[in-house]
């Protein structure tokens, strides 16, 4: 059945009314977006100076300190069951997008320190079915609620940085010593770096920052123009891991 003149005018009129509403809906969209925008509010970030880091051959001070404080197990039956919050690996694993078969010899032996990137647009948060992981709007930390994690491991699949580990066994079995000030996790739960949220709330710096013997790690609020992290990223050329994925990682590397 065709559309007659009268019906056509009705539809066209409704369409015009709809278009006229657009500025109003845009206004609402802006309000909603600005409240939840990852770029609004305080944004905690980390700058890692690989120039300083590579001077310390085989140094694992930050890794040891972090794993000891957060009761991260160190002994595993197989490498596949490894749990890690912060770790080192080779340059081309950290920055595959550089795609350079003849990487500068300086970087050939440079292990890159890696941890959760506390992305502005974290894919792990999007896939979590229980909201056990979420991005804190007040400071940008990608938090975890281990009480709520059901161990589905969607977040592990979603994270492009390998920052998340799954507890295949009881993590207490792989612990030499337990720090009573921090809980352990249980079997079947995912864990990762929380930017030392429990220390930040008390006004302390993350453990890795404090443990570094050469002050290679800087932590602070990137939204504050006078903060040290902001000044560092303005002053030096920095790399971020896999920025092309659009996750907006918040760990900056001075290479």
């Amino acid at each position: 059945m065709g559309v007659d003149r009268r019906k056509f005018l009705k539809i066209a009129g409704l369409g015009a009314v709809g278009l006229a509403c657009k500025p109003a809906t845009d206004l609402f969209a802006k309000v909603v977006l600005s409240e939840h925008s990852p770029l609004a509010g305080k944004r905690l970030a980390m700058v890692i100076d690989l120039r300083k880091c590579r001077q310390q051959d085989d140094c694992t001070a930050c890794i040891d300190a972090c794993h000891q404080v957060h009761n991260v197990p160190t002994e595993f039956d197989t490498a596949k069951h490894e749990v890690k919050w912060i770790w080192k690996d080779q340059f081309d694993y950290a920055f595959p997008e550089q795609d350079n078969p003849f990487v500068h010899k300086r970087f050939e032996r440079t292990p890159v320190l890696m941890l959760c990137n506390h992305c502005d647009d974290p894919p792990c948060v999007k896939v979590c079915p229980t909201q056990a992981t979420w991005k804190r709007p007040e400071d940008g930390i990608v938090m975890m609620d281990w009480h709520r994690c059901i161990g589905c491991r969607y977040c592990i699949a979603a994270c492009p940085y390998g920052s998340r580990s799954f507890n295949w066994g009881d993590p207490r079995e792989g612990l030499e010593e337990i720090n009573p000030d921090f809980p352990t996790r249980m079997r079947g739960v995912v864990e990762k770096c929380t930017f030392c949220e429990e220390r930040v709330v008390k006004g302390l710096l993350p453990v890795c920052v404090e443990a570094c013997p050469v002050n290679a790690i800087t932590f602070g609020d990137l939204d504050d123009p006078r903060s040290k992290v902001r000044r560092l990223v303005r002053r030096y050329f920095t790399l971020r891991r896999k920025p092309e994925l659009g996750t907006h990682p918040q760990i900056y590397y001075i290479v």
Partner: protein, 126 residues
């Protein structure tokens, strides 16, 4: 209807078995008394004793929600005292005898909370 007596006997056995706890209770009398050890130190709890007995599990759930998801850390009691909202560092600091307080009552009540799968009992740490 030759099996009528079998069915009746079966029913009687069934009813006796299903009500056996009641008979047992009637025969033995009062339930055994629960002896809980009072805290070694600390005079008052974060709520009154009776309230705590009823709602400590809800309080702990509330604490975990506020600490982990809300970013709050401290709890104010009705008489203005401030406590860290922490099972390990606040509750177990006074109730340092977990096995004679928490565990004993939980065993008595037949409940098995899994708080300690993750949260550390400072007394047990190697």
């Amino acid at each position: 209807m030759n099996d009528l007596w079998r069915i009746v006997i079966g029913l009687i056995v069934f009813v006796v078995l299903i009500t056996s706890p009641v008979w047992y209770d009637a025969a033995v009398g009062k339930p055994s008394k629960l002896n809980l050890e009072s805290p070694v130190r600390g005079k008052s709890c974060v709520l009154e004793r009776e309230r705590m007995r009823d709602v400590h599990m809800e309080l702990l759930n509330d604490w975990r929600e506020r600490v982990v998801r809300g970013g709050e850390r401290t709890f104010e009691t009705s008489n203005g005292e401030i406590y860290d909202m922490s099972l390990t560092n606040t509750c177990l600091d006074c109730h340092s005898n977990k096995d004679k307080f928490c565990d004993r009552c939980h065993n008595y009540m037949g409940v098995d909370p899994y708080c300690w799968s993750c949260h550390v009992n400072p007394g047990e740490v190697r």
